[in-house]
């Protein structure tokens, strides 16, 4: 798109998968994906801010349509949390679940926006090349969320059971407190603690990233001519409709896993 001279399938896809980066310091770690960060923050501010604006004027009487919509979402999430978390969920878990669901849903939903049109608008209206508009196709985002929740998991483990209680759980569950089994228990728990954030983050990343790639592949059909364009457009529309399901489902799964992990951290085995 940027350079019409060498538009090959590879360059097309590479173009859409390149981040807008800023090097903060020397070293490969000190790179910031500005597009991911800014888009996700804008989306978070819009969605959470929208809810906040509605909630500020919330009435306990007859709600407005907007308030009813927000309440619907909130009560839906509250119910889900209530079913798996048995404690005072209003202190942390339920609002966190609401944040995660709304934010991840918004970030996933960016996938449905037509990718080339968005690239064209960003390039011509804002002068931005290489702006990826779907933050959840950046593995950094999903890992950031999953690792934050992983840390919270450890925090709640220690907070609820005490450091000793947590250590006991690490060494003495799930197989028993026989000293011979300590190492096995620890290994087992170690695998669990490693696999949790990995599966948590990679599930979301994989689904959305794959969806994005399929959109790109469908978009490439446009290069084959008019019939390819029409066919690609029809398939793209079909995939987008199906993607509405994936986007919502993945946000929901991510939220549910968060709730389940946090409630497991609250409960002794």
């Amino acid at each position: 798109m940027a350079s019409n001279t060498e538009l090959t399938p590879t360059s097309y896809i590479e173009h859409h998968l390149t981040y807008l980066t800023v090097q903060i310091k020397e070293g490969s770690f000190w790179v910031l994906h500005v597009d991911t960060l800014v888009t996700s923050i804008i989306l978070g501010v819009i969605s959470i801010g929208f809810i906040w604006l509605v909630v500020r004027k919330a009435t306990s009487g007859v709600p407005s349509k907007t308030q009813a919509f927000v309440e619907l979402a909130v009560e839906f999430i509250d119910n889900e949390v209530k079913n798996s978390f048995h404690g005072n969920r209003h202190v942390f878990v339920a609002p966190a679940a609401l944040t995660i669901f709304v934010w991840v849903l918004m970030m996933n939903a960016m996938d449905i926006l037509p990718i080339d049109i968005m690239a064209w608008i960003l390039e011509h209206a804002f002068g931005l090349h290489n702006w990826k508009i779907v933050p959840t196709t950046d593995v950094n985002t999903t890992f950031a969320l999953a690792l934050s929740i992983w840390l919270l998991m450890i925090f709640f483990n220690v907070k609820v059971k005490g450091l000793g209680g947590w250590m006991y759980e690490l060494f003495c569950t799930p197989f028993g407190k026989n000293p011979l089994l300590w190492l096995l228990n620890l290994l087992f728990n170690f695998i669990e603690y490693v696999s949790k954030p990995l599966s948590h983050s990679l599930r979301l990343f994989g689904n959305i990233y794959a969806g994005e790639i399929i959109f790109l592949l469908l978009g490439m059909w446009a290069a084959t001519g008019v019939s390819g364009t029409i066919f690609g457009a029809i398939l793209g529309a079909g995939w987008a409709i199906f993607h509405i399901l994936i986007v919502t489902l993945q946000a929901f799964i991510f939220m549910m896993l968060t709730v389940v992990y946090l409630s497991m951290a609250h409960e002794s085995h």
Binding site: W30, T36, I48, L98, N140, T141
Partner: protein, 157 residues
Amino acid sequence: MNINFTLISQAIAFSVFIWFTIRYVWPPLLRAIEERQKNIADGLAAGERGRHELELASHRSSDVLKDAKQRASEIIAQAEKRATEVIEEAKHTAKEEGDRIVAGAKADIEHEIFSAKEVLRQQVAELAVAGAAKILRREIDAAAHADLLVAIREDLK
């Protein structure tokens, strides 16, 4: 797919959003929802109470109605009794009044008869005296026989 500083910045953004939701978004909405739930529960309870009271009131009203009907029939019976009494009394009074009127009339009639007799007697006596006087004109001196004439008149009275 390279891990870099974006991860940390996203984690910070994430924690800020969570903090904001916990602090400003969740509590007021929860309060509104819970308040409404309470209102609805109260409303339902009030409705239930209202229905119960309505039932009681309808019981009471049917009782009152029954009582009123009974009293009304009693009053009607009393009124009928009283009416027959009044009629009887009126009849009685009318009869007495009639009797009195009849008796008065009879007395009047007797009186009339008596005075008529009196007048007739007077006239008969006078006629008798006049006849006797005509017969005895020559033989009887009115002056000499005045005491006799008076005696006859007294007899005829």
